[in-house]
């Protein structure tokens, strides 16, 4: 009986939490120095859902009772669903026992807002505190910061958690007003600002005093739902860029809206999940963070939306053909990174390998370059190269005709692309 009840609770509270797409358990280096349980390293995916997403953390809500009524959320107060709530001890037990069996890297705990922000936040913090102090747990803990919670509680949360996040949910303020009238963007941004400063402060302290406690070592992240409101990709990516720059966010997650509720403010039920768009946003995000692209190179007022049929790097290259072809044996790393079909790893390998001799097509291929795309943009140690004066449209057609449906059909959020 008890077993059945706890299984039911887990089903309800995991189901309600799954639309938060962030699953990362990386970015923390919490060590197991107390001969306790666990450590946090580079984040392992212990399994994958049938839709191909990484499962790394036990991701649950403490409760799906909520006093708010955000239109896009299954837990909204007006939705007629089964409600449940875990006790603090139940969450602690499941986390520890899952962790010991190597099912998970740690816990991602979020919650509906019951009573008020502080009341909710206090319980989330209590779970984290119990894990860290009573169980000597060093695994990964991600807590959701409840908008409007007091600075005191946020500070305590930072002492136990590896990562904290506030979801922006809707990329623009206007969109938020429409769908979550009770929420206030200021309440969401305020804790982010507080945490940003606190993290900087604690880092400085740590540099001076080795013994100073670590504070949210994996930083902050946020999530935006795309496709629930009519924002363009420029708006989405500019918001992301703004938060990366001004709040030192570690990650921004994009979650293609899954229509689970009928509401005239939202896309109709049975609208398909904008998975390709979501994938393109992640690719664009990648380009901003690792490939040295500026946001307005990727999207701008003339090109407000990402191409759905080709990835944003190829799309940029086709708009900037005058930059190419580049000589792979001479060009700077920065430029090599901009070539379609060359990823981070291959780019670095090229730069290492060419010190030993000039590289030809065969070697590039073996290094891992996708020649069917790259060949239009580079020259190497070979007399064979693309001599035709192709237009952007030609190149796009050639590439699309050769690449399989991969670029047209379902793509994924966990990507290792380019």
């Amino acid at each position: 009986m008890i077993e059945e009840r706890i299984i039911e609770k887990l089903n309800i509270l995991a189901d309600a939490a799954k639309y938060d797409v962030s699953c990362s358990s990386s970015g923390s280096k919490r060590k197991n120095e107390n001969k306790g349980l666990g450590n946090a390293s580079n984040g392992i995916c212990h399994t994958y859902t049938e839709d191909g997403r990484c499962v790394s953390l036990l991701k649950i809500l403490l409760t799906n009772h909520c006093i708010f009524d955000c239109a896009y959320c299954v837990s909204r107060s007006s939705n007629d669903i089964k409600r449940a709530a875990f006790t603090v001890q139940e969450v602690v037990d499941i986390t520890i026992n899952f962790y010991r069996r190597n099912y998970i890297e740690g816990l991602f705990l979020s919650s509906g807002i019951f009573k008020d922000a502080d009341f909710t936040m206090e319980r989330l913090v209590r779970v984290a505190k119990k894990l860290r102090t009573e169980h000597k747990f060093n695994g990964y803990i991600h807590l959701k910061s409840i908008p409007g919670a007091s600075d005191e509680l946020m500070r305590e949360a930072g002492l136990y958690a590896d990562r904290l996040s506030v979801n922006l949910e809707i990329p623009t303020e206007a969109g938020l007003k429409l769908l979550a009238p009770e929420k206030n963007r200021k309440d969401m941004i305020q804790p982010m600002g507080f945490l940003k400063n606190e993290i900087i402060l604690r880092k400085e302290e740590k540099a001076l005093f080795k013994k100073a406690p670590i504070f949210a070592p994996a930083g902050q992240s946020t999530q935006m739902i795309v496709g629930a409101t009519p924002e363009t990709d420029v708006q989405v990516l500019q918001t992301a860029n703004h938060f990366y720059k001004n709040f030192n966010l570690k990650r921004v997650y994009y979650s293609g809206y899954v229509p689970v509720l009928s509401d005239k403010r939202l896309p109709a039920l049975h609208t398909s999940v904008p998975m390709v768009r979501e994938n393109r946003l992640y690719q664009a995000d990648w380009l901003m963070r690792f490939y040295g692209f500026k946001v307005n190179e990727i999207v701008n007022d003339t090109n407000p939306h990402l191409d759905l049929d080709i990835d944003p790097k190829l799309s940029w290259s086709l708009r900037n053909l005058e930059v190419f072809p580049i000589d792979i044996n001479k060009a700077d790393l920065q430029l090599i990174l901009r070539v379609p079909g060359i990823g981070l790893q291959s780019a670095h390998k090229i730069v290492s390998a060419r010190q030993f001799g000039k590289l030809n097509w065969d070697q590039l291929k073996k290094i891992g370059v996708a020649l069917n795309r790259a060949k239009y943009f580079i020259t190497c140690n070979s007399s064979r190269f693309e001599r035709r004066d192709l237009t952007a449209t030609n190149i796009k057609q050639f590439i699309l005709s050769q690449s399989h449906s991969k670029f047209l059909k379902n793509a994924t959020t966990q990507l290792n692309l380019f």
């Binding site: 706890i6 306790g36 212990h46 839709d51 997403r53 010991r100 010190q355 030993f356 379902n410």
Partner: protein
């Protein structure tokens, strides 16, 4: 063409390299274990592992490679992949025949192949770190069985020791029939005798709550799926079928 037969150890491989240079052999084949073929006219050398000779080759390598480079070479051999010894010998020869450190000379086929082997070994190691599922026995030991594609068990010990410092565990490679046992202080190599009890049954006795947590985990795995996003192909690529039999959520 000369065939070198050796005992499969890393020292043995290095002894082979010594022989190759001493006898000035150009074209060689390498074989692990015993020489069985009775064919005539084949030139075969049975290489007896020799610590001194191996030591000299090792020293030479250490002068030419970084510590990380040495480790990668060792791990590549340890993995025990079929037919790759000849590539490793080729790599070692290339290292000796070059003036500067060639670890990053990815234009060379041996260097590139070693990088590929290492990538495969790493991936298998990461998969083990991800896919191992412990089951708690009555005596408090956490037990996991695995069947990795390559011999990566020695490479994963450290990870599990750091992580599960406060619990006793056993990880057992069913295919190669040996395992690691951590007793809260050290890791030991062990072999279990399955003659009397079936492997998956060492485990005659789980703890009381083992079933509950397995059940919870299976339910969790089902709950987090979003049917509207189903993508079986991607799922299979991340979790290939051959690993399923040890994955609690897949049984």
């Amino acid at each position: 063409m000369t065939t070198l037969v050796y005992d499969g150890t890393f020292e043995g491989l290095l002894t082979c390299v010594f022989e190759i240079y001493e006898r000035k052999l150009l074209h060689v084949k390498i074989q692990k274990g015993e020489w069985l073929s009775k064919a005539l006219f084949e030139e075969v050398i049975q290489v007896i592992t020799d610590e001194k000779r191996a030591g000299r080759v090792l020293q030479g390598l250490q002068e030419k490679l970084s510590a990380g480079g040495m480790q990668r070479l060792y791990a590549a051999h340890l993995a025990g992949m079929d037919d790759e010894d000849i590539m490793l010998i080729g790599y070692i020869r290339y290292v000796f025949d070059s003036k500067k450190n060639v670890e990053e000379d990815y234009g060379n086929k041996y260097v590139l192949r070693l990088a590929e082997i290492i990538r495969m070994v790493r991936r298998e190691k990461h998969r083990m770190e991800a896919f191992i599922r412990f089951q708690k026995l009555q005596d408090g030991i956490f037990y996991a069985a695995i069947e990795p594609d390559f011999n990566v068990l020695p490479l994963v010990g450290k990870h599990f020791k750091n992580r599960y410092a406060d619990q006793k565990w056993i990880i057992y490679d069913m295919r190669r029939n040996y395992g690691l046992y951590y007793d809260l202080h050290h890791i030991e190599y062990i072999t279990l005798d399955f003659a009397t009890s079936r492997p998956d049954n060492v485990i005659s006795s789980y703890t009381e709550d083992e079933g509950l947590y397995q059940n919870l985990w299976k339910n969790y795995f089902k709950s987090v799926n979003i049917p509207a996003r189903k993508n079986t192909k991607l799922h299979m690529r991340h979790v290939p079928k051959r690993y399923w039999k040890f994955l609690t959520e897949k049984i």
